[in-house]
Structure formats: C-alpha cells, structure tokens
Subunit: 308 residues, 2 copies
DNA sequence: GGGGGATCATGCCGTTTCTGCATGTTATTT
DNA sequence: AAATAACATGCAGAAACGGCATGATCCCCC
C-alpha cells in the first residue's frame, strides 16, 4: 500500500469520476485510468464498477473512505514530521521564496535580520505554487512571496499565518530605444508571463484591463521567470513588467527605463507565510524577526539598500 | 510514503546493516543501497549515518521504529482486509495449491467435498513459498500443499492452523527402457529439482543420502515444476521423483515404471493450512470439509479415483 | 599502523513501469 | 438514433529499477 494509492482512490471517491480525479491528481485521464487498474491489480481487489460511465466506487470501498482518509493523513503526517525532525537535526530552517525575490529581497532580510541565525539557514526557490507545496509538506518552514493587494487583504485561511513584509511595485520597463517608440505605438512587444503563473494572472487581471483601448500587447517571448524576463528586456526584445527590486539596478544605470508614466503599473504585497502549527524555537525566532515591521527593507527596495 | 519504504527502513533498523537488510528484502545489496538513497531523497531526510561502516540509523529515526512498525502493520492489515472484503463481495474462496497437486489431488477434493460450494471457488497455483505468501497476505483463504513428514509432525506455529489430508509417496519413475539400465548403472540420468525448491530440498535430504555409495545422480535437466519433470521422464530424459498421484496414470498404462524397489522413495504429508484468524462462514465450511478425514482421497490417489 | 576483510557505493546495461498523445469503444443523454 | 461524455487501448519515449562487476571506505586485529 502506498500513500499515493490512497490519494488516488480518495480522489475518485471525492470527485466521482476518473476524469475529474485525474485532473486533481495532475495526470492525464488515460494515465490515471491505468494507474487505478494497476492499483486494483496489485491490491487484488476490484475498487470500481466500470460498467457505469462515471465509474461507481464499490460500496464496500466507499464505506472505507474515512479509513483511507485517516491512513493517508497519518502517512502524510509521518513524512512531514520526519522532514521536520530531519531538518531539526541539522538545526536548519528552510525558507521557500519565489524566484524573483530570491536574488533581491530575501538576501537583505536574511542578512539584516538573522545575522547570528545565519549558518543553519537554507533557501529554496520555486514558483509560487511550488513554494506553497513546500510549505504544506513541511519541507519549508516559511515561505516568502508576492500576493496581490486583494489576496493580502483577504483572510489567509485557518491553516496559514501571514505577516506583511511590505509592498513592491510591478513596473513596465524597456530599453531606452524601445521606450522611445512606446507613446506612438499601437502594438507593444512584451515579455509575457504564462497565463497559469502568478504574475501572468496579475498582469491579466490588473494590467491588461487598464491599457488604452487602441493598445495591443504582442507577446514576443513567454517566461515564468522574472529574471529571464529581465534578460529579454535588457536586450530590447520587448517591454517587461518587473518587480521594482529586480529592475532597480538596471533603472539606476540607464540600461532600462521606467514606463509606468505611460503604461499601467500595479502594486504587489510581499508576505511571509507559515503553517498555523507548532514550530521549533528557531523557526519561531525567524518568524518573529520577519514580523518586526521596522526591519523590513521592502517598499521597492533591493533588500539591504535603503528605500528612497 | 509507501509500505515498502517502511519495510525497507525497518529491515535496516532490525538487521543493523544494509547488506543484511538487502538479503531480508530479497534484492542485491547495490540495488537496496540505491533504494534507500531514493527513499531518503524523496523523503528529504537523511535516515542513516553512512560514514560508519555498518551504517548507523540516525537516533531520531531509530526512535521512531515503533511508529514505523505500527504504520506498516496498519497498512498491511488494511490491504489484507481489503482483499478479504473484495473476495467476500464475490462470495469467493481462494485455495492456493502447489503446482503438482492442482491437477491431481485438488480437483478431487473440491469436487467431492464442495459440490454445492463450487461456483464461488477459485484455485491459484504456485510454488510452496508463493502459496504461503498468498496465505499470509490473505490473497488465499486456504493453502493445500506438501510437507515433509518431519514438518508435518512439528508445531505449525502460532499463526497457522493445519489439517492433515493424507500422505503421498514420492516415487522414482522412468521409461521402461531407461529403467532396464538402472540396476547396472553407476550414473543415473535424473530430472533434478532446483536446490531452493521444496522438492529439491526433499530429494537432497531424504533421497540422496539413501542412494547406494557407488551411485551418482547426473542431472540432465532441472525444473521446479513436477509436471514438466513428468514430461521429461516420459521422453526418457532421465529418472524423475514424482508424487504418486502425478505418475499414476503413466504407471498404469506402462509409459513409466516405478523404480522404488531399486531406488529410494519417500513419503510426503499432504496438509491444508490457513491463518489462525477469523474466517468468513464460507471459509469455515471449506475448512471443516477439508478436515473431515473420511472424505480425504489422498494416500497416493489421483483425487476422485479410488485408492487401491 | 598496516594489512585483511567486510560493508557500502558506483558504472553499466537490460528490463520493467509509467506517462502523454491520439484514437477507439461504450454508457448516458436528448 | 444521434450526440456527448467517460473510459479504454495502442504506441512510443522517458524514467525507475534491478543485477552484475568493480571501486572506495571503514573496521578490526595483529
């Protein structure tokens, strides 16, 4: 028996169909169908009545759903606890942060606030979704990431604690040559974020609607990685919406110019998140240090450097 | 988390070394070493201190051994229970039997004793070790197999219940042509059983030592499958030691002749085994029917046919 | 402290398992 | 009866896994 099997079975029980369960388990329907067959074969039990079209979970199996749920939770808890203990053995704390912040904001936070804490600190960087997954599976103690102002105003939910670290502007930038052509242009070459990435949703929700009516965005390249977007912008491929902290150095030395007077910009909230659970003393210290608002170097700063 | 992972970890905890644990888990040491690394990687935790030569389980992990054991037991129990319930849904009983008996003895038992029970009965055939595994994992309700007379006299252990169904002779047989050469020969071509198979051990322990001093066995082919051995014997490849029930038809029609007057034979006990646990009503009826000694058609019979 | 032996790791390669995509089949709906 | 949605299947590429041979360490004992 495997935790994955329990989760697969529960997905079918919960969603009521293989197709929907496949989606929840993030595989294609054929692959998931096979997986279920394999589970049945290895278990030696027929779990579903496949003669019905949305498959029906055999009643004897459905009756055990709660048992499955508990076993799955116990296993998940066991591995989470193992991870926590494993880290504790090294006296390590793990911070998960979104790619864009790793190079700019986070080093400042860590250096400024955690000087003495330093040695046992590890940084993992990923996209926002994966960061959240690291947090939920307890592979990370704290996550630092962006939220939209709307998200930051909403209740974080019962499982999460949140601390606001500041805000940062998401500004349109381009090379001076490209920028000069912007006011007259009807089509703007842009570095786009994928629609399913966090910044892609932000741009779609908060930037696109505020563009002038005759103005169209023409995606030249698409990347989820802010730093890659910065690279393209530097080469004049298109306009990129970058966090101010990422763009600051290029803006200062004139490689890029700020277009936020002619194109919409928006503001992102920078937050720290952690599970609302027991934490070790080191994790607690880290959290307290992050929460101390005075120490926060956010507000568009590059971390460590003073804000204007 | 997977049951297999827990079992792997527990194997190391119990045996104190990777090599020994690999043996217990029935894979080679390199493969097992890799498996452990993969588990550590996927768990994100270092489980062992590999700088010591028999690896040392990290104390934080060793401290959780009991937790692991309970989780493993719970998972194993859950799958076993699922299997039982799955079978019960079909009203099915599963009998595991050794290959050799499936064709001869078991049909007689089933037909004679279970006439009415018939429809929901399923027969699985495997070697003795796998039959036992089927029993232990509750994929089978009852196992029917051979034991040596010594085994049959010993305590079956706390987990197993045993019922003696009779005995059967293991007799040396050969084609008439080959048999004619036996008395004078110093080397006998034989159909050998693998040393790690049940009958291989029986031959090694009870037949070999009783051979005349000047007599050598020359394995011509090796097979664990009695019926395959019979096929070879029929073609005159060598002498085979076969259960009387298997050989009977060939002996009756003269295809093979019985050499037990010039070569050692031995006697095997035919037993039914089941786990000493709760059983469903159908399983209980089956067991009672098997235990009824009068009905047993054993004693070398081919099952169904009357014994001499 | 220097073999000798045991334990674990690694390179290589064949086998098995798993996945996605495209497409076929079947139950359900209208 | 046709349309639709749900599930299965054929296929090919990728990843995981195992065994074997061999290399690198650690432990023990003289």
């Amino acid at each position: 028996m495997r935790l994955e099997w329990l989760e697969d079975i529960l997905a079918v029980i919960d969603t009521g169909s293989i197709r929907a369960a496949a989606e929840r388990r993030a595989v294609t329907q054929p692959a998931f169908s096979r997986r279920l067959r394999a589970i049945e074969a290895r278990l030696g039990v027929e779990l579903f009545d496949r003669s019905r079209k949305p498959v029906v979970v055999h009643p004897a199996i459905a009756a055990r759903a709660e048992e499955f749920r508990q076993a799955a939770a116990a296993l998940a808890e066991m591995t989470a606890e193992l991870r926590r203990a494993g880290r504790a053995r090294h006296g390590r704390l793990v911070i998960a942060s979104q790619h864009a912040m790793t190079a700019t904001l986070v080093p400042g936070l860590v250096a400024a606030e955690l000087g003495a804490e330093g040695p046992g600190l590890r940084l993992r960087t990923a996209n926002r979704e994966d960061c959240l997954a690291l947090l939920m599976t307890r592979q990370a103690d704290v996550m630092i990431g962006y939220q939209t102002m709307a998200e930051a105003a909403a209740d974080p939910g019962a499982f999460l604690e949140r601390a606001a670290l500041g805000t940062e502007r998401l500004v349109p930038v381009a090379t001076p040559a490209l920028a000069a052509r912007v006011p007259a242009a009807a089509e703007l070459p842009v570095i786009a974020y994928p629609a399913d990435a966090f910044l892609g949703r932000v741009v779609a929700a908060e930037i696109q609607p505020r563009l002038g009516p005759g103005l169209r965005l023409l995606p030249r390249v698409e990347t989820a990685l802010t730093l890659a977007g910065q690279g393209f912008a530097r080469r004049g491929i298109g306009i990129a919406w970058l966090p101010a902290g990422v763009a600051r150095a290029d803006l200062d030395d004139g490689t890029l110019v700020d277009l936020s007077d002619v194109l919409p910009a928006t503001r992102l909230s920078i937050v720290a998140l952690r599970l609302a659970l027991d934490h070790g003393p080191a994790a607690e210290r880290l959290w307290q240090a992050l929460c101390r608002p005075a120490a926060s170097p956010a507000q568009g700063g590059t971390g460590g450097a003073a804000a204007p």
